[in-house]
């Protein structure tokens, strides 16, 4: 784990209204991100990872808990101007086809980050060229429009734009899933380099477990609004302890030419509006016991990481 913490999420809950009822998409999540650290956030769609990411930068109001960036509170975006100190907390969005204004030149898009921070237009232009170079695009790209670039190049532009604000923490919501295979590797590497060079904190949300495994230092596995396993990537991936993490890892098809079909996890993620009682994973869990129906699971340390599974925790505690 890294020395100093840049972003802290404590007991974070996010709710949405749906047909008069409150749906809890994120239900009490604790997470910290250190400088120079990549925290991967994985889970099936509907598990609340994107809601958590958005709450982390203040794009969603919190139903409970608090988010702290460099010791100051992250307030939800509203009518009021976003506090100056939050400029260092930036988000990279999934789809670089939609997150860039098609009517503005790349140079202008990036320079905004500088001028909004009080820099002059000349500063903005100079910085835009510099940042494009940093993300591996020619400085001449400043005079082009977003449509002139491929998906991978657009995502580089979107990253350069967030860097213009001089961030110390980035939250990237599926930054590579809209890209081509080779572009995915390029963008994943770029994010890794930026984190290492500028000592940024990075929350990497992805449903692509392989990429998270390769670049993240720590990984948090979410299921239905809660973290079920969290720890060092190598530890978690090498020997997953929570049955859900086991199922996720076993479901990844390996390009080893062995022709082995990946293991199946039957069923779908339940509706978060009416989550199962007790352990939320119990209806799909291969090792569920009767007590799992009633007992709410808490994260507890097991084998060098934390898991929210009483059954496994008990087995490990009494060998």
């Amino acid at each position: 784990m890294s020395d100093d913490t840049v972003l802290t999420l404590a007991g974070v809950a996010v709710e949405y209204g749906r047909r008069g009822q409150r749906v809890r998409a994120v239900d009490g999540v604790d997470l910290t991100v250190g400088r120079g650290e990549i925290v991967g956030l994985v889970g099936e769609s509907g598990c609340g990872k994107s809601s958590l990411a958005r709450a982390g930068v203040g794009l969603e109001p919190l139903a409970a808990g608090a988010v702290t960036f460099e010791g100051k509170p992250v307030t939800a975006l509203g009518r009021r101007r976003r506090p100056e100190y939050l400029r260092g907390l930036q988000m990279v969005f999934q789809d670089p086809y939609e997150s860039l204004n098609p009517r503005r030149k790349v140079g202008e898009i990036i320079a905004d980050g500088v001028t909004l921070g009080g820099g002059s237009h000349a500063d903005g232009r100079a910085r835009a060229a510099e940042l494009l170079d940093r993300v591996g695009l020619p400085a001449t790209a400043t005079d082009s429009y977003p449509h002139e670039f491929s998906g991978g190049q657009r995502q580089r532009i979107a990253i350069a734009r967030t860097l213009a604000a001089g961030p110390s923490c980035l939250i990237a919501d599926e930054p590579i899933s809209a890209l081509d295979a080779s572009a995915q590797a390029q963008i994943a590497n770029l994010l890794g380099e930026l984190v290492a060079d500028a000592r940024l904190g990075l929350v990497l949300v992805s449903h692509d477990l392989s990429v998270v495994r390769q670049v993240a230092h720590r990984v948090a596995v979410m299921y239905l609004g809660r973290i079920v396993e969290i720890g060092d990537t190598e530890t978690v991936w090498g020997s997953p302890q929570h049955p859900y993490t086991e199922a996720l890892v076993a479901a990844i098809p390996q390009a080893d030419g062995a022709g082995v079909l990946p293991a199946d996890l039957p069923g779908d993620v339940p509706d978060p509006a009416s989550p199962p009682s007790g352990c939320r994973f119990h209806p799909r869990c291969p090792i569920a016991e009767d007590s799992c129906r009633e007992l709410d699971q808490q994260l507890a340390p097991v084998a060098g990481r934390e898991i929210a599974c009483q059954v496994r925790a008990t087995v490990k505690a009494s060998p």
Binding site: Q186, N189, R213, D232, A263, D264, L265, P266, D268
Partner: protein, 328 residues
């Protein structure tokens, strides 16, 4: 195995503002009944255009040469009306996006039974029974209720399973699955890959899986064709191609994958292929991959390599063959 589909010297030229450009260039392959064949490549490699050409669903103005024979019948020579009967009855397609494959305001049952009744000539009650059985096959809980529901009421994974059920409704002999699981979670993907595998074994259906995910290929496809810029780069048995790739592009695709056994996780960068695939009409002379190839020689820029057999069932379009294992 008996051969079901044979594509020979297929070229597809698409109209652009700067004239016609080949999206598929002299492609040949065959698929047997009961077999899963994979077509891999980045976007712009011509995978999807190849699939659409089987269905006669190319963009207006596209020029097709070569032949596509399904059981000996050349599909490129059929009239639109004749082709319509082949589509749906013999050929079916599952696309990447289940949200657009299904009609949003028709109940699932209608979408399943409509072409079943048209192609199989069965009555409504019979079609309804078969549709419910089909939903059960693709593991949709409570099929009777699902028949009355609308696509929007299902999750992405379930919608894709319904789209597969619709594609299977008229019992096609060849299913083309274009990135069938790319938009889905790994757990749902695992279920769908197992389903496709089972349907091939049980029904003798042939499947062409188109994806850039070599993990999916490894799990399902017996044979694999790797395309680059509309041309065949390498083709052969999947196990051989993934363990001993001979084409530098196949090798590059494999190197770009995160490696499960790699040491020092969280630190090892992925090895990306530099640059990006050429766009339509900007395909370089000679070997289309040579500007991105670290093994490129002078001759690669001059001559367009043809796929030639290098081992049993293994085709390679790379004359320098730098990855050949020297047997001493």
């Amino acid at each position: 195995m008996n051969e079901l589909l044979r594509v020979e010297h297929l070229s597809v030229a698409l109209p652009t503002r700067s004239g016609y450009h080949k999206a598929v260039d002299d492609l040949s392959f065959a698929v047997d009944a009961g077999e899963i064949m994979g077509i891999a490549g980045e976007s712009g490699s011509g995978k999807t255009i190849t699939a659409l050409s089987l269905f006669g669903l190319l963009p207006p103005g596209a020029r097709v040469t070569g032949s596509i024979r399904l059981d000996g019948t050349d599909l490129t020579a059929l009239s639109p009306r004749q082709l319509r009967d082949v589509r749906g009855r013999q050929l079916a397609m599952v696309s990447q996006d289940p949200a657009t494959a299904l009609h949003p305001i028709l109940p699932v049952g209608t979408q399943l039974t409509e072409h079943m009744r048209h192609h199989l000539g069965i009555d409504k009650a019979e079609a309804r029974l078969r549709a419910a059985a089909l939903l059960e096959t693709v593991r949709i809980p409570d099929p009777e209720r699902a028949l009355r529901a609308y696509p929007g009421q299902f999750s992405g994974g379930m919608r894709q399973r319904i789209a597969i059920a619709v594609a299977l409704a008229a019992e096609p002999r060849l299913l083309v699955a274009d990135e069938p699981t790319t938009a889905l979670d790994v757990t749902v993907q695992a279920g769908i890959l197992r389903l496709l595998d089972r349907l091939c074994r049980e029904r003798g259906m042939a499947v062409i899986v188109i994806t850039h995910d070599l993990g999916v290929m490894s799990a399902t496809a017996g044979r694999l064709a790797v395309m680059y810029a509309g041309r065949l780069a390498e083709a052969g048995p999947t196990s051989g191609l993934l363990t001993r790739p001979r084409h530098p592009y196949t090798r590059g695709l494999l190197d770009a994958l995160p490696h499960p056994g790699a040491q020092g996780e969280g630190t090892a960068p992925l090895v990306a292929i530099g640059g990006s695939p050429p766009s339509l009409g900007r395909v370089p002379d000679g070997c289309p991959f040579h500007p991105r190839c670290k093994y490129a020689e002078a001759s690669c820029a001059a001559e367009r390599p043809e796929p030639v057999p290098v081992a049993a069932g293994h085709l390679l379009a790379c004359p320098p063959d730098p990855l050949r294992v020297s047997v001493s």
